[in-house]
């Protein structure tokens, strides 16, 4: 078991490491015009970094998700994205179904 003091230090370190990126972003934003090329580049990098994170979360997940099979996660993801498109971009149905579907397939 990790000691309470270490946990508090870890929370502070994690919060600082996270806030730095957000705050630096807020400062940089003051100098970036919406119409500039720099803004467009940041927009592309933001979407691709996010996509990279999501790709990693599905292929190499952290936490409990790593106890499920990759092929099952891919089946659930593709099915739910299909439902999202089929239901004209309703997000509630595919997200709820994804949890039920994965729990079910994982025991199959």
């Amino acid at each position: 078991m990790v000691s309470s003091q270490i946990i508090i230090l870890a929370i502070i370190a994690t919060s600082l490491a996270t806030f730095i990126s957000r705050f630096m972003g807020a400062l940089t934003s003051e100098k970036v015009s919406v119409k500039s090329k720099v803004f467009q580049w940041f927009n592309c990098v933001a979407y691709s970094t996010l996509a990279a994170l999501l790709g990693r979360m599905i292929i190499f997940p952290a936490g409990v998700l790593s106890d499920s099979e990759l092929v099952i996660r891919l089946i659930v993801l593709i099915t739910c994205v299909g439902i999202f498109i089929f239901t004209k971009k309703n997000l509630v149905i595919p997200t709820i179904l994804s949890a039920i579907f994965l729990s079910f397939l994982n025991n199959f």
């Binding site: 957000r22 705050f23 467009q40 940041f42 592309c44 994170l53 790709g55």
Partner: protein, 233 residues
């Protein structure tokens, strides 16, 4: 100060068919249960979501603590995984800028920057009058942030009643929601290239470097999307 009507409009984004409340609830319940397993008490778990409010970083923190990593290592690992928040902020905040608004609103509300709030704001900022967009953002942020904190507490308290299958089910909700939102955002060539390129490069570079994968994949795929996607970003 804050325009109440626009603020409420932002807060109301928690409702409806694009609601981020379900995926946020699901993943933070799973996180609350995980933090309890990692030896956190209730206050520490709530404080983690209150002050950090960035799930991948919190997962890295919990897993690093369990393997006995040093505080400096945790700081670096979290910084690398949460560095995505920097380009995300720069690609959103200029859209919310208005010279009549005080700077403290931007400096404080950048804490609400997370994938869910960012995707919602990017999806709906055009409907809001430029002058009050920052208040709309604060509304979205307060809604998503408080959902995350409350659900972390709920997850902690219900940890004993959640079995492994339920936790696995909860953990998939978040990536599925984000993927759907990203596909919804692929309305032009540059964003489409960025999303597809990032999805392929993220896991590929992860095979070479686990820590630097996100940063390099984001930079490479984003720059390719910028160069080939034209001006309609």
């Amino acid at each position: 100060m804050i325009n109440p009507k626009t603020f409420l409009q932002g807060l109301k984004s928690l409702k409806g068919t694009k609601s981020p409340a379900i995926p946020l609830g699901a993943c933070f319940i799973a996180l609350g249960a995980l933090l309890k397993d990692a030896g956190f008490n209730l206050q520490q778990s709530a404080a983690s979501s209150l002050f950090t409010y960035a799930l991948p970083g919190q997962l890295v923190m919990a897993e690093s603590l369990l393997v006995g990593a040093s505080i400096l290592n945790i700081f670096i690992a979290v910084w690398l995984v949460n560095f995505r928040l920097y380009p995300m902020t720069v690609s959103l905040f200029p859209l919310l800028e208005h010279k009549s608004q005080p700077k403290w609103k931007y400096y404080l509300s950048c804490h609400f920057l997370a994938v869910s709030s960012w995707l919602i704001a990017k999806d709906s900022y055009k409907k809001i009058d430029k002058k009050h967009r920052i208040d709309f953002w604060i509304g979205i942020g307060i809604g998503t942030w408080s959902t995350a904190i409350i659900m972390t507490v709920a997850g902690y308290l219900s940890a004993d009643y959640l079995n492994k299958d339920m936790l696995i089910g909860l953990a998939i909700v978040n990536p599925v929601y984000f993927f759907c939102m990203m596909i919804g955002a692929m309305k032009n060539l540059s964003v489409s290239i960025a999303v597809i390129g990032g999805t392929i490069l993220g896991p590929s570079i992860y095979l070479i470097s686990t820590e630097w994968a996100l940063l390099f994949a984001g930079l490479i795929a984003g720059t390719i999307a910028f160069l080939f996607g034209g001006k309609n970003g």
